[in-house]
């Protein structure tokens, strides 16, 4: 309990842990809970999400990590029985304040899903610029530039630059996932939420996307849900461990994996269950 309390004011534990003092939270949740009907999916999670860092959420399946992730860009608004309590703060504003438009929030907080889901009728190019077109950007030069930038950022440009007009569905699974990342990046989100982005992919594509994350975090703050502890250890700077809807422990990844404070965390990372 003590550790969790201290997280409400993030600079303190960081100073204690001797981390880089310049870290600033881009997002922060305070007592964030998600209910499905009467059942609680996630209970009172308080944690920071640091700017230009990769934050991994790990835990056994059904632990609420995906539920928590989807609360960060108001995806639960789409599920009639889901209800969110507490605060999720982006740039000093609670995204659950009445009057805040979830559409605007989702523009600022992009999302990549478990399975690649390019728009089936659109070309590679049109998939990437789909979000920009929604925002009313019509100028071809702007769109072209954004498409190339996003595709370069998602490390797909070299593979598709000669066939931008081909259907997005014609790509391989790993390429489709990178296309979805490019699509999310094109609207220049502040935070990118990734929900087990490699779980449907082969090892080589997984490697490509993991490599991508380390370069991407220069441009965008990343939160990734993963069922794969090695992946969390490889790509993330901070890790939160979830168990039965509760955030058990949060801290710098190497600390959490080498010196977990909570015995439950230790049990999980040493492979005793989960």
């Amino acid at each position: 309990m003590e550790e969790k309390q201290s997280l409400i004011s993030p600079p303190v534990p960081l100073a204690q842990l001797g981390e880089d003092q310049n870290l600033k939270p881009r997002m922060e949740t305070r007592g964030l809970s998600v209910y499905y009907g009467k059942k609680m999916g996630v209970g009172s999670v308080t944690m920071p999400i640091y700017t230009n860092q990769v934050t991994a959420l790990i835990g056994p399946s059904g632990c609420g990590k995906t539920t928590f992730l989807r609360a960060l860009n108001r995806m639960h608004d789409l599920t009639p029985i889901a209800r969110v309590e507490g605060e999720a703060i982006l740039d000093g504003q609670n995204i659950y304040t009445p009057g805040v438009d979830p559409v605007e929030i989702r523009r600022k907080i992009g999302m990549v899903f478990q399975k690649p889901n390019p728009f089936p009728t659109l070309s590679i190019y049109d998939n990437v610029v789909a979000g920009l077109k929604l925002l009313g950007v019509g100028k071809k030069s702007v769109l072209d530039e954004a498409a190339e930038r996003s595709l370069r950022q998602s490390a797909l440009w070299d593979e598709v630059k000669d066939r931008l007009r081909a259907p997005g569905m014609s790509l391989s699974g790993g390429q489709q996932q990178r296309l979805c990342i490019a699509r999310a990046l094109a609207v220049q989100p502040e935070v990118l939420l990734m929900d087990e982005p490699t779980s449907a992919l082969d090892p080589i594509s997984t490697q490509a996307i993991e490599d991508l994350m380390t370069t991407l975090k220069k441009h965008v703050t990343i939160v990734i849900v993963t069922h794969n502890m090695q992946q969390a250890a490889r790509v993330s700077d901070f890790t939160g461990y979830f168990l039965t809807g509760e955030l058990v422990e949060f801290g710098p990844t190497n600390t959490l994996f080498t010196a977990p404070k909570d015995p439950r965390t230790e049990a999980y990372i040493t492979g005793r269950f989960g």
Partner: protein, 321 residues
């Protein structure tokens, strides 16, 4: 194990089993072959008996001729084909957007109970006998339409004389009445299939668009409708086949006029209404010509149906086209 069972149960002797199974399967197969045979026979009957019309007038000649005269025994199919196509396509054009709207509304917006009510309403619309639509068209729609047509006609005669030949006689009965009745009858077919395929759109497709910061309508436009396009297309094709073959409702309100040119308000005809109106006294070449018309309808509706069935099947296999 099987032998143990057969010993304990004398009724399941191998003879009883093998003979019964063979007899039953044979009977079922026979009945199924009968179904297949009947459908082939329908095509054969129409084609074979209608062939004389094609022989006498030539295929192109029969299809393109506008003559239909039992006195001189000269027949051509063009007015009927044209009327069938015009009424069906116009009805479909009229029905398409409301059908898509109700499909989208019922699946994406309406609360569950309202969605169920709308589904049931569509089911009822589809199952009401067509002759009731005809009765309603003739006694309710046509008089109402006549008033509208007459005021439009008067307006046009004052302000847009050139429109008059397009509009035709504002008598209520005619092409526009048939198109409206058909549109009402086509909607449930198109809407149900569209609704089913929209319901099949996976959540990740919607979320892809929501995640980009799309509004609900933008999600529907970007993700839902494109993904469901196969089912929507199949619904349109099925609607078209229903409109093409619809008989009694159209016969009652279309006015049965085979003289070209057709006008928007004025009476027209279709293949089914020609068959209904003329078969009574038809013999010889005239009957052949009617059967040839039926054969044309058989071919068109057959091809469209198989196309729709193929699309639906593909849709259910991988969720998209």
């Amino acid at each position: 194990m099987a032998t143990v069972r057969t010993q304990s149960r004398p009724s399941t002797s191998p003879l009883y089993r093998a003979f019964g199974d063979r007899l039953f399967a044979g009977l079922v197969l026979l009945l199924c072959l009968l179904i297949i045979g009947i459908v082939l026979l329908i095509g054969w009957q129409l084609g074979w008996n209608g062939a004389r019309a094609f022989e006498v007038f030539g295929i192109v000649g029969f299809l393109s001729s506008t003559a239909w005269n039992p006195v001189t025994d000269v027949y051509g199919a063009w007015p009927f084909i044209l009327g069938t196509l015009i009424t069906s396509l116009l009805a479909l054009a009229l029905a398409f957007f409301p059908a898509l709207a109700v499909a989208i509304f019922a699946t994406e917006y309406a609360p569950r109970w309202l969605g169920n009510v709308l589904s049931y309403a569509l089911e009822l619309l589809a199952s009401l006998p067509s002759v009731i639509y005809g009765l309603w068209g003739l006694s309710v729609l046509v008089p109402a339409l006549r008033g509208v047509q007459q005021s439009l006609f008067l307006w046009a005669s004052d302000h847009a004389q050139w429109l008059l030949p397009v509009l035709g006689n504002p008598i209520g009965i005619g092409l526009s009445a048939a198109v409206m009745v058909l549109a009402v009858m086509v909607i449930p077919y198109t809407a149900s299939l569209a609704k089913d395929s929209i319901a099949l759109v996976p959540a990740v497709q919607r979320e892809a668009a929501y995640g980009l910061g799309a509004t609900k309508w933008e999600v529907i436009r970007m993700a839902v409708v494109p993904y469901a396009r196969g089912g929507i297309l199949a619904g349109v094709i099925l609607g078209l086949t229903r409109a093409l073959g619809e008989t009694m409702a159209v016969v009652l309100v279309i006015g049965n006029n085979k003289n070209l040119p057709f006008t928007l308000f004025g009476p027209a005809t279709t293949i089914p209404s020609a068959i209904v109106n003329e078969f009574g006294e038809a013999q010889g070449l005239q009957l052949s010509s009617l059967l040839a018309l039926g054969f044309i309808l058989f071919l068109i509706s057959g091809v469209l149906n198989l196309l729709a069935a193929w699309i639906v099947k593909r849709m259910s296999v991988d969720g998209r086209l």
